[in-house]
């Protein structure tokens, strides 16, 4: 019985988030700096989607706080890739250091952060979750491919901070929320 009640409450909450996300989404401005948290491959997809959405942007896989100068938004693509880290010559600690620096820089410069997790279930796990947990509280809005939120991690973290969460079925569906977020 208690389980059912909890389920109803969470469904109501998700519904509320959905409604609030639709009606009262935060707005972002161009130009946007795009980088990953974890050197994942999805960062490139976000750059292509940003181009299609008409968002002026720059993709910098190794961006640091200094690189934020001149940008009005930060698009952070979440998820760790061992392959990507290896190619960038980074380990998890160094990457986390870079990401934390970036988060701090964005906060100091009052640059809003839009977090995206597009890798689905496969881009989860202990290493990816470290980046998700580190970045999400700083986000102004979050877009996640549904299969990456099967365990409700994104729902829970967004709920705690009152951050609008948009769930999509497929990567390509990130285009519309991106367009809307940057629409003037």
């Amino acid at each position: 019985m208690q389980g059912k009640k909890a389920l109803s409450i969470s469904l109501i909450f998700i519904f509320w988030l959905f409604i609030s996300a639709q009606s009262n989404l935060p707005k972002f401005s161009s130009p946007a700096l795009i980088t990953s948290a974890g050197q994942n491959a999805e960062v490139q997809m976000v750059a292509v989607l940003a181009k299609r959405a008409g968002i002026e942007h720059n993709l910098n896989k190794l961006a640091t706080a200094q690189d934020l100068a001149g940008f009005k938004s930060l698009l952070l693509v979440l998820g760790a890739s061992m392959k990507g880290l290896g190619a960038a010559g980074l380990d998890l600690n160094k990457e986390m250091e870079r990401v934390r620096g970036l988060l701090k820089g964005a906060e100091e410069k009052n640059i809003p952060i839009l977090c995206l997790h597009l890798g689905g279930e496969e881009r989860r796990g202990a290493q990816s979750d470290e980046f998700i947990k580190a970045c999400l509280p700083a986000a102004r809005m979050v877009i996640v491919v549904k299969s990456g939120n099967k365990d409700g991690l994104f729902t829970r973290l967004c709920q705690e901070k009152g951050i609008p969460l948009i769930e999509i079925e497929r990567t390509t569906e990130a285009l519309e929320p991106l367009k809307n977020a940057f629409a003037q």
Partner: protein, 525 residues
């Protein structure tokens, strides 16, 4: 029975077997179908090795169709690029070796098959035209390699879905590849090596600053060579010679034969520690001696001697890692590289183990215009130095980690095995053989068991990569022995995707084993 990395490729092979083809016919049909359904791992833009067992003649032979460097290649081609070298090794035209797959398939069919190339290619042509649903594996590799595909093939390529990676369940069709395969089926492989496809390949490679010429393609030959033989605990193993890594697989097993592995226990820290150290010592030898035997003398006999294995087994300490891993000193020695695997056995007892590759997933990402196939980046398998046995050089075949094999017990073929997985190939195969022979696991259990891998580089210790299915206590024990641990995914493609067939004569069964790290599948009739 056919076992391969995709169910539709298996069906292609079975179709040929059912139509009266032998194992060699079915292997080529499966290999060609893999180009369609697993295009990111192998195909006519790449090369490989196959080992063939002819039951009636009781003969084992090897077809080497490894890609070759163009004739204009030179030792400093990568080192002169400095920090940019990785790019030139993997995504530029300089990464592309002269592809050997078609020449190898054709040679195998002409010598040992019963059907024409056109006939065995037909199931692949049908698949490319009809299309199929994209698997999780396809989708995730497509996403992982997105940047390379975008850079070299562009948003409009067939390997992207409206410019973005395919999602699981999407329909994938490749009419361009169907057209290419049909052209080859109609005109023979000369259209690829000397005709209109050759021109397209050369143009695509040269546009990306590669050195391949029409002459390089026209002069490519697959070769038939003697297999390498070794023993392990009373069994006999046949595998491929250099530039493949059968040599190093046998080295690993030779070293393990000095240890009471079964007493130590499956997945015990002691076993993992010892075999890991053996891998590091074997990699030191690999770095020092493995190259194209047409150009360098590889001291095979010496490295496979019991003395060599004993020396290494004695070097390895039970109480910690060595930290320094030097190649064996060999007097009088003249110094002058993701992939797929399939196994087939037919009703006459003929068998094939075939490993083929375009190297990294989606190879170089370079696609000759309108052809639908991806060119390899196999020349990345040359050493990072401009000297040594595996230095880049004209017409050379780079060293390979492939090691398809047959294992015979009491004179009868018992196991057909192979795997993709880059440098993890031969260590993974050694682990699977030990799992079967020493730990008594079934083929499927042996393939699915958690994997581990390490190597040495320039004599230095490298981390020990593990699937996290090993108990936490074992991992701690290994750390205490001095291993730096890298935890991978529970069933990580990094360790390959082994495919095997085991013949159980006592029970009168032929058992297939396919790896769930990829879309492995096996079926018989």
């Amino acid at each position: 029975m056919v076992v391969a990395a995709h169910p539709l490729a298996v069906e292609a092979g079975l179709k040929i077997l059912k139509a009266g083809g032998n194992a060699i016919d079915a292997a080529v049909a499966t290999a060609c179908a893999l180009n369609v359904v697993e295009p990111f791992a192998s195909g006519i833009g790449g090369g490989g090795f196959m080992i063939i067992y002819l039951a009636r003649e009781n003969k084992v032979t090897v077809i080497n169709f490894r890609d070759k460097a163009p004739s204009a290649f030179y030792p400093e081609i990568f080192t002169e690029k400095g920090e940019e070298a990785p790019v030139w090794r993997t995504v530029k035209g300089t990464a592309v070796g002269v592809p050997g797959a078609l020449a190898g398939w054709d040679l195998a069919l002409r010598r040992y098959g019963t059907k024409r190339l056109a006939e065995v290619m037909q199931p692949a042509i049908d698949l490319a035209e009809r299309g199929f649903k994209v698997s999780e594996t396809f989708s995730s590799i497509n996403k992982e390699e997105y940047e390379k595909i975008l850079a070299n093939a562009g948003e409009k390529t067939v390997y992207l879905n409206n410019g973005l990676p395919y999602e699981p369940g999407d329909e994938f069709r490749n009419p361009e590849l169907a057209r290419t395969l049909r052209l080859i089926a109609q005109k023979g492989i000369d259209v690829f090596y000397k005709g209109e496809l050759a021109s397209k390949i050369v143009r695509a490679v040269q546009e990306k600053e590669g050195l391949m010429t029409l002459e390089d393609l026209a002069s490519y030959r697959a070769v038939e060579v003697e297999p390498l033989r070794g023993q392990y605990r009373g069994t006999e193993i046949f595998t491929i010679p250099p530039p493949g890594s059968g040599l190093h697989l046998l080295q690993l097993l030779n070293i393990a034969s000095f240890w009471p592995v079964s007493q130590w226990g499956l997945n015990s820290a002691r076993y993992l520690h010892h075999l890991t150290e053996a891998m590091r010592l074997v990699f030191a030898d690999r770095e020092a001696y493995l190259g194209d035997p047409d150009y360098v003398q590889v001291p095979v006999e010496k490295l496979l001697s019991p003395d060599s294995a004993r020396l290494k087994a004695n070097l390895i300490r039970s109480d910690g890692v060595l930290m320094e891993y030097l190649p064996e000193e060999i007097k009088e020695h003249t110094k002058a590289g993701n992939t797929t695997h399939l196994c087939v056995i037919d009703d006459r007892g003929n068998a094939v183990a075939l490993t083929q590759s375009i190297n990294l997933f989606f190879g170089s990402g370079i696609i000759p215009e309108g052809t639908g196939f991806i060119l390899n980046n196999q020349l990345d398998d040359f050493a990072s130095t401009s000297s040594g046995p595996n230095a880049p050089g004209p017409n050379r075949r780079p060293a390979s980690s492939m090691a398809p094999l047959f294992l015979f017990q009491e004179g009868k073929l018992k196991l057909i095995l192979g795997s993709p997985g880059g440098t993890r190939i031969f260590p993974s195969l050694a682990e699977i053989i030990i799992n079967i022979i020493d730990f008594g696991l079934s083929l499927d259990e042996a393939i699915e068991a958690p994997r581990f891998f390490s190597y040495s580089q320039h004599g230095r210790i490298r981390p020990l990569s593990l699937e996290p299915r090993f108990p936490e206590a074992i991992i701690k024990e290994l750390e205490a022995l001095g291993h730096k641990i890298t935890i991978r995914e529970p069933y990580d493609r990094y360790f390959g995707g082994a495919q095997g067939i085991l013949i159980d004569y006592k029970r009168g069964l032929i058992l297939g084993g396919a790896d769930s790290r990829r879309d492995g599948f096996g079926r018989g009739y």
